[in-house]
Symmetry: C2
Subunit: 287 residues, 2 copies
Amino acid sequence: MANEPSTTLTDLSQHGCFGGSVGIYSHPSEQCQCTMKFAVFVPPQAQIKPVPVLYYLSGLTCTEENFITKAGAQRYAAQHGLMLVAPDTSPRGEDVPDEEGWDFGSGAGFYVDATENPWTQNYRMYSYVTEELPTLIHQNFAADPARQGIFGHSMGGHGALVCGLRNPEKYQSISAFAPIAAPSRCVWGQKALGKYLGPDESTWAAYDASELVRQKAQTNRHILIDQGLADPFLEQQQLKPEVFKTTCEEVGQPLTLRMQSGYDHGYYFIATFMEDHVRHHAEVLCG
Amino acid sequence: MANEPSTTLTDLSQHGCFGGSVGIYSHPSEQCQCTMKFAVFVPPQAQIKPVPVLYYLSGLTCTEENFITKAGAQRYAAQHGLMLVAPDTSPRGEDVPDEEGWDFGSGAGFYVDATENPWTQNYRMYSYVTEELPTLIHQNFAADPARQGIFGHSMGGHGALVCGLRNPEKYQSISAFAPIAAPSRCVWGQKALGKYLGPDESTWAAYDASELVRQKAQTNRHILIDQGLADPFLEQQQLKPEVFKTTCEEVGQPLTLRMQSGYDHGYYFIATFMEDHVRHHAEVLCG
């Protein structure tokens, strides 16, 4: 039932998985002006008819591989009949500008469209995730363009909240694991937004979930967030879920924020609550 | 309920996971004469009383991390109340002899006690897995020494079958994913056994599951094996499950060998059938 495959997609590997298949692909990206990779899980149900798509955005330092190898989401996606799509976290390549360190540049695109040089030519992860990638998925896989959800972890949780809040018509369901929920107010976010978007903080609000909600960019969908209480980045004030929660309460944005005792920032935490998150999306997308 | 922790165990990291915890540990190994690492999942049930232990042996090139990050077993172990223990696949270190290549030496201990120089001093993974490691686990964790199972993948599937068949009193349950089931008859096994044990092939039989069964070292327990039909190493004649199956049929060793269409040799295959394997062990160990 898939449409005619795009000639621009390179199939890097295919693996049977929970009755469906995991595929890793690369393609030349118009937005990022470089070769981009992503991972797809196609559930068995896609052999019969187009299925909803759930996008997962990864955190700092990750590639397209972390989620698909470690999160254990395929089992639940196969149960519900959801396609999973996990892009890389930034443009990459010899011709793509980068910096020393792990919290900016390669592996740290922060899901923004950069406006500052030298980042603006390649670092367009917001448009890549919300426009170019969904178009590519619908052209090449048995995906239903009317049913999309988005979730992610840490920097990718920030990305999922921002993409979802700014595009409620595109994404009918949103959730996040330990998101950077108020990037304008934390060290990671101030560095990234300041360099990608420039020093005028008024431009940062479009990429700050708490500011978006404050400015009434809310969705009527219920947002689910899980946050580990043993997460060192929570104590370091990089995540600030309490700011997002207070803002949601002020404007009436439906939110369930669960503080999970004993869990840290890694994939053991994500895997533990993955079943709940996939169900959260499936209840909307597969209902 | 755990016994007094051994002073020789170094706690490298702890992570909440499915209501229990994943820990990575190192310790000085008497058998391997080097620092060895292993991963443990302690299920929530171990807070109340000692639980059975299921050992997982990994394949070529793996460390103690592959299984615990990629196989998705913790969810099922938490359901059944099983502890999971995953050791490294060889001794390692500057003072440990090694060779170029990935199919012998570091990451490729083949779960034998080597008798040839220079390997005999460190490469004692059989005694490490069957004696030293279980003792360490029972000294340091809430583990029930009377209830142990063993499983593994590829080289580790070979190790699990050999350890299980030679020690039916120690391991009440055995299973394997894509095991090297007749190592005396394949390129990987002939190289490893020839170098670790020497050219006299009669010494290899103690580390060849098919030869062990032929020589009546069978267990009365039902062995479960899953093998992917899209596994390139099956076609390359490295695994030979059919030799093991024929031998089991000849001597009456209970075996279920499932040939799984569309699955290759990797962790997507392992994760897909992990639930069945953990249940196979739990039915014996938690009954």
